[in-house]
């Protein structure tokens, strides 16, 4: 339930919001206990939660409505998390299938590349890639991605987690390809591509379903960490991670600035984790996925 609310709320952001996430309301006044109060006082201290209508959760030091930013930032957090996780699954599946099915040199090359990626601390390669790409953008043939595009954190997260997905898939495929039904398919004269798609893929599908929620949870956390370090979502876009980082600068005068987005983050990730564990227990209790963030 909580998870549903956390996931759904950001999607309605544009319908319920009275203002845009970037709009300043520095000189505005709101009614608190019947008294008009400055959104940001003369010392630069923003108001706290009003618990009603506008500035439900207060404002930040630029006079921006936190509730509105929270919902819009949540959109980015969820978008990056989900797209990153899907990217990981696509890449991991591809590499795992290739390595496991072809074995030999293909396997050696892919497994070795995975080892190299694995040798980096997750967060370190994340900020290295994130910073380099955010500064220079990315040019892949005809496609050019701007440095502040959301596609960059998505790409970075998708790449970083690939070994965690490719390895278990490879192991499963190695075992599957020796099974009788694959032998039978081969004896019938099916080509490798067809065997992979119609015989092996359905059998690893469970693993994908089990991993997806847990992977999304970890991708959201990683996005937050990268954004906190300035290597993830770039301004003018906001995410829960960048909001915590902004709040960290003013933690003593306005702690709610970093507490609130953090709570949203924990609630979302927690519900994904609980959901993911449920799915795992129901489908494949032995599956083990370990990710760092």
């Amino acid at each position: 339930m909580l998870g549903g609310a956390c996931l759904a709320a950001p999607l309605w952001a544009s319908q319920v919001a009275h203002t845009t996430p970037e709009a300043n309301h520095l000189s505005d006044k709101v009614e608190i206990d019947g008294e008009p109060t400055e959104v940001v006082d003369l010392l630069g201290k923003p108001i706290g939660p009003t618990w009603s209508g506008r500035f439900f959760l207060g404002a930040d030091s630029n006079g921006r409505d936190i509730m509105v930013r929270l919902l819009y930032g949540g959109r980015n957090s969820l978008l990056v998390g989900i797209a990153g996780a899907l990217g990981t699954i696509a890449l991991g599946l591809l590499l795992g299938l290739l390595a496991g099915y072809h074995r030999g040199r293909v396997d050696t090359a892919i497994s070795w590349a995975m080892d190299v990626l694995w040798a980096f601390p997750v967060i370190l390669i994340g900020i290295a890639l994130g910073t380099a790409l955010a500064l220079g953008g990315l040019e892949l043939g005809p496609i050019t991605i701007e440095g502040d595009s959301l596609a960059i954190p998505i790409f970075v997260i998708a790449v970083i987690y690939v070994p965690y997905m490719a390895r278990p898939i490879r192991g499963q495929v190695l075992a599957l390809r020796e099974r009788e039904f694959v032998e039978a398919a081969r004896a019938q004269g099916m080509g490798p591509a067809r065997i992979i798609f119609s015989e092996i893929l359905p059998n690893v599908a469970t693993t994908l379903v089990v991993f997806l929620p847990l992977l999304v949870a970890n991708a959201i956390l990683l996005e937050a960490a990268l954004s906190f370090l300035g290597a993830g979502v770039q301004p003018p876009n906001a995410s829960w991670g960048t909001m915590i980082a902004e709040g960290f600068d003013r933690i003593t005068s306005a702690p709610h600035l970093s507490i609130v987005p953090g709570l949203m983050l924990v609630a979302t990730v927690l519900s994904l984790n609980v959901f993911g564990e449920g799915v795992r227990d129901a489908l494949d209790p032995k599956a083990k996925l370990r990710l760092e963030h």
Binding site: P121, L124, G136, L221, A224, L229, F248, V266, E292, H293
Partner: protein, 324 residues
């Protein structure tokens, strides 16, 4: 048998060197081939003249082909002469300055997370299905779902700034004042440990529950061993093996840079913080050195865990060979 183990260890170490080589190439490529701006222009300051930029380019060897730059960087890295582009400080010395802080953080946190995880995991497994077991499960999940830096910010604000119980950050040298050193590290230790307590206690709990069903545990019980002894000698001992593996891997990762966020929030000035600053400035020599340092610890702990496993349990190597 001995020879086989030695060969396994040698092979593992050889692949380790290859992986490190690839890591260094990859990092160098990320920062040199990707469009990130000309380092000479950035080093020359705000309004550089063309001659200044040229001079810097020549002095630092930016006019050489990329592979020559790579080789010179690596040579300097191993001879300890690597110098930062921006602070002009020796990179190796900077890392050696930060390393004791990172080690102090990592070792303390690793002890804390192990002790808490064993205690909580054991307690949970003993009381499966009770309210306290469920409560601990929920707490562990919350711990896993919390961003480390957010937890650190909250702890340092409420227990440090507001309540004044702990210092809010900074590192105190052990030799200057052992008690202050300890006091300043309490919050960072716990901040770093929470995630791992969550993971490890859950893994331990399910391991214990699995082991309890094994025949040798039933046999131990049947021959009349007291429950306490069955638990400690047979169940816990065997359930701990996978945890110790994880511990080796995670400890390597934490020393290798996974503690960046904790170091930053508490401004401990360890290797992690140095790394973050180096990357932010695109300071290639510093980034090369810290990633090599980090990857070294991760790879070596991976290898140590593998070798220890192979030494303890010959089945593992056989299985590995059959699959590969």
């Amino acid at each position: 048998m001995r020879g086989a183990l030695a060969r396994f260890a040698a092979r593992r170490l050889a692949s380790m060197v290859l992986v490190l080589l690839a890591v260094s190439l990859l990092v160098f490529a990320i920062f040199n081939v990707l469009p990130g701006g000309d380092p000479a222009v950035r080093m020359a300051g705000k309004i550089p003249t063309e001659t200044q930029v040229e001079a810097i380019r020549e002095e630092w060897g930016f006019d050489e082909p990329v592979y020559v730059q790579y080789v010179t960087t690596m040579e300097k890295l191993f001879s300890g002469d690597l110098v930062s582009y921006f602070t002009q400080l020796n990179v190796t010395e900077e890392i050696l300055k930060g390393a004791p802080r990172t080690f102090a953080l990592a070792i303390g946190a690793a002890i804390i997370w192990m002790v808490f995880a064993i205690a909580l995991g054991l307690y949970s497994a003993m009381r499966v299905g009770t309210l306290s077991d469920r409560l601990l499960t929920v707490l562990a999940l919350i711990g896993i779902s919390m961003p480390v830096f957010w937890l650190g910010i909250l702890l340092s604000h409420y227990l440090g700034y507001e309540a004044g119980i702990f210092p809010t950050g900074e590192y105190v040298e052990f030799l200057d004042s052992p008690t202050q050193w300890f006091w300043h590290l309490v919050l960072p230790w716990f901040t770093l440990a929470v995630l791992f307590i969550g993971i490890y206690s859950r893994v331990l709990r399910s391991n214990i529950l699995e082991t309890m069903d094994e025949d040798y545990v039933r046999a131990a019980r049947a021959k009349g061993l007291p429950e306490r002894q069955v638990l400690l000698k047979h169940v816990l001992r065997n359930s701990l093996i996978p945890i110790v593996t994880l511990w080796g891997l995670d400890f390597g990762a934490v020393i290798g840079g996974a503690a960046i966020l904790t170091e930053l929030v508490f401004s401990l000035q360890g290797v992690g913080q140095y790394t973050a600053e180096a990357i932010e400035q695109l300071d290639v020599p510093a980034v090369m050195a810290v990633t090599m340092y980090g990857a070294f610890f991760i790879v070596i702990f991976n290898a140590l865990v593998d070798i220890a496993y192979a030494a303890l349990d010959p089945r593992i190597r056989l299985e590995g060979r059959r699959q590969a």
